[in-house]
Symmetry: C2
Subunit: 653 residues, 2 copies
Amino acid sequence: MVSVSVPPPRVVIEGVTPQLEGGRYAVKRCVGETVVIGADIFKDGHDHVAARTVYRHAQDRRWREAPLTHEYGPDRWTGSFVVDAPGRWQFAVEAWPDRFRTWREHLEKYRAAGQDVAVELLEGATLLERCLDRMPKQVRIYLRSAARQLADVALPLSERVDLALSAELAERVWGPLLAGDATRSAVTYEVFADRSRAVFSSWYELFPRSQAKHPGVHGTFRDAQDRLPDIAQMGFDVVYLPPIHPIGKVHRKGRNNTPVCEADDVGSPWAIGSEDGGHDAIHPQLGTLPEFHAFVRSAADLGIEIALDFALQCAPDHPWVTAHPDWFFVRADGSIRYAENPPKRYEDIYPLNFWCENREALWTACRDLLLYWVDQGVRTFRVDNPHTKPLAFWEWVIREVQRDHPDVIFFAEAFTRPKRMYGLAKLGFTMSYSYFTWKNTKWELEEFLRDLGRPEVNQFYRPNFFANTPDILHEYLQRGGRPAFRVRLLLAGTLSPLYGIYSGYELCENTPLRPGSEEYLDSEKYEIRVRDWDQPGNIKSDVKTLNRIRRENPALQSFQNLRLVPTNSEHLLAYWKHAPGNDLIVVVNLDPHGAHDAMVEVAPGDLGIGDSQSYEVEDLLDGRRYTWRGARNFVRLDPTERVGHVLRVRRQR
Amino acid sequence: MVSVSVPPPRVVIEGVTPQLEGGRYAVKRCVGETVVIGADIFKDGHDHVAARTVYRHAQDRRWREAPLTHEYGPDRWTGSFVVDAPGRWQFAVEAWPDRFRTWREHLEKYRAAGQDVAVELLEGATLLERCLDRMPKQVRIYLRSAARQLADVALPLSERVDLALSAELAERVWGPLLAGDATRSAVTYEVFADRSRAVFSSWYELFPRSQAKHPGVHGTFRDAQDRLPDIAQMGFDVVYLPPIHPIGKVHRKGRNNTPVCEADDVGSPWAIGSEDGGHDAIHPQLGTLPEFHAFVRSAADLGIEIALDFALQCAPDHPWVTAHPDWFFVRADGSIRYAENPPKRYEDIYPLNFWCENREALWTACRDLLLYWVDQGVRTFRVDNPHTKPLAFWEWVIREVQRDHPDVIFFAEAFTRPKRMYGLAKLGFTMSYSYFTWKNTKWELEEFLRDLGRPEVNQFYRPNFFANTPDILHEYLQRGGRPAFRVRLLLAGTLSPLYGIYSGYELCENTPLRPGSEEYLDSEKYEIRVRDWDQPGNIKSDVKTLNRIRRENPALQSFQNLRLVPTNSEHLLAYWKHAPGNDLIVVVNLDPHGAHDAMVEVAPGDLGIGDSQSYEVEDLLDGRRYTWRGARNFVRLDPTERVGHVLRVRRQR
């Protein structure tokens, strides 16, 4: 509210972009990216206005500045700065009446009309005198001398006017000249700059305990380490491990999620904690902390980063249950409440009570778990079911961790209603699972992609297109066989710069627990699975080709550049991904069972090609070249041969 | 920012509507209107959530509340309240985990599955005990007793469960039950409720000095009073007077804005102030303060309100110039700066320096001028050129006046760039002039109406469609003769619930100062014009009919209900105005020179009429009835007979 006694604002600053919920949350960018700032800025009267954005990394003391410029009519001002370091950035917008430019213009007009400008010159001199303190030291001597000359009636008038209108003087006078002139946007807005893997990376999920060479043997970090070259060969750069902590023994679940557990059953890694330790311990059968370190180092040598699971829940034998029973839900009879979805109760899991009396201790302990693993060299956390823990907790803990470790990535595994998924992304999750696995028909995919492609969503939500997970084996994969796996791989890796597969995908494993279920039969969640990673029918060469193409083509390294392309077939989905000098047209046959053809419509003008000119497109998947011409071109895809094209447009030189 | 020590919010509340710039400004409504509140509300986990809006008139101490309800999937909550008094209202949104409903549902499910619910009953008892302090006094006895019974193991279990699930209990437990449960929107939003004339009124502008019965005589308030019955007959309910204050004599402008003034020239009423007084004085030739009071009372008796001009600028002989030279711009040579638009200087006007050293005194004096005229019975101010005075000043002064006088209307005469016009409306101007006078072709009008019709603009900007002003005689009127005046009158009065004419319009006065000018020849701004108000060719009966129709048809009393209707003629503009039980289809021939016909397209379904059913429309202008059928109906308009139809849809009973 404006008050007459507190100096009121001289200029109106509104509609600042980018912003989320009026500055409540940070928008997301990638390190090195240019942030374009916009604002509606205007004041009363006819004075000139000037404006700038002031910005800084949140840990810098000094603000930097960049000028804003505008178009007259719409009163829309723009400018930009580069976020050149990871972490939280702040910016605001400042504007002020440009007294010097207004004065100079008036003087010019009066002079041109042959009017007396003696008083104007004196007023200019006074203005320069009064603003001296606010000007940079290096220009003060010049300005003081200019002020003196402007006011010096002994000098010829024309000389004084020439000085007043000189470029030298104009260059040196910039910024709010007098006290109270500057108005600043009421809000300081935030931008979070993530490192590049937050935007572009290829993920592979594996259970270390399944990496042994022989069936029935519990795999270790060493075994997992031996798998890394194969994974690097496929071109992945993030390997994500389900929880690596001791697994609860009390009420442990048996194979295929049966409530009865056999003596040799290994349990679910998500039932965390036993006498061997909790979230800061390593499951003894996987190895030791030094072996974990060796595994992480070995991965790094291959260009692979290890992502851990962060699942905030406890098995009944988790050390916290005895050390901090008050961190759980204590029932009226003194017992601790199981996880429940009435009338079901999950006896192998205790949820944490984030609103317990001793909330600060619990939240701090959770933060310290993250910091512990950060100390062990982990920089990426896949967060299990974040939507079942308070949003306020996540907002707090992510800020706490990223303050000193801005390179830490949080990946939200929240499959829930859209606003909750978006809410988690807004408050700070770096990237998120999405509904991709359930979008298989053309209309489903197009609607889904249009929603994610909205610029306001792009500001904060980065989807990671996992093609399967240990929880989700979609019917499409169950029924579509190998071609279905190739289709979904190609879609995931070309639609989204972030994508992943859960191991076994490359072997086209597709047997569900039972018909109608999306669970795997003999799921690795409850038992060890040892596989032949080179078994016939695998699609590892597809994976390798795809990941190579992703690395070589900047168009596949951004999500914002996706444009759907019409085809006249309900089976052929087409889209165009554009980066400077790198245009890809991807066409995918969504039907794993049959060949289909269609006309694919891309206006040559959009590609910078003349309407009647022919041009060459090269399928990056197999190197074949085709000649295209005009707005409609024929494509036929037979899934027994190829499920799609990734066509790079070749321009004439 | 969330902190672990300050209790963090349990629930996320975002996207609250209605709001302007994140709550920076109040949205506008009419007294008696229902304000619909919306919000995105969600929390983690599976608990039920409940929400309400809390609201109050800004001068009430106590908040009232209204529940919000929601659809599950979109997490969008809505509710409403009525603004039943004029002035500033405040509202916020509150949400909390609905512990009781969650507990009750769990209990129900466990019981249905035949599980033991003894502990659940105890927990319910504890919940009721703990929330007692927060519950209204009248239910506490009931709840304490219910808690005791729920916990009483001596009672049969089924009886306790029945009580737990009873409607009686559920009805009594509502609201945030425990400390820290409630989350409130970070912002308290504002709604300004105006009285109905702010939304719907018909304006007539006249110069009192021109109301004498004989040429050459200076009119008075008494003369103006004698005109009122005629104006009331035409159906106007606001009469707006240009400034009624003493007119400066120094550098007074002559007739037709000539710089040289003859002895008998009366000067411009906007050059305010002379030895006879300033903004709080009355020009002696108009009459005395008691005569002004009589004029205002006489108007009120006829259902007419008097609106004054508020023009913050001074003639060189205004008393403030000598009493407060520091309130003006003092030049380097000690002189006071004229209004200027370099290289032009306007020697009859001094602008005020709203940022002068003694700003508080000046702003307060300006406010006191408004309060003075409020004390004289004036409740509507037409503000001259508000965009040349600081926006912060207007925001402050409007708030100051409306705090004790919420029925005061501020009408902004700002013809400037769109964001500045909208900026003034956002900060508090009740209604605004618009570009209407310059929108004469069909495409111009349609584009203009689409922009004004946007819901986000409707929240704050109320256009008043003046068909002419003393400054604007559009070429369309100059060239189109009487039919043009009828066209523009009909458009103004049926497109917008707020419209007006400046006197002389009803006589079709259309001689410009010179070709290409929008100024009137012999403008009343600089001289007295005495007219024969019943001279032949006048369109007073059009005016009367239009104002009657406006009063009788609620569809013409709102701006939000306008829908453009296609016609296949570039000359015929059609629109549909809807209110419950009142559908009007208006068709106007924009060409004053020729007859045109077209098919007008209104889907009968939109009118609640069967597709193949015929229906009757009655032209409210002349009572003729036509039978329409289907989506396209023929209309022909010959401007020598009629310039438009105002067709009321007659439904079969």
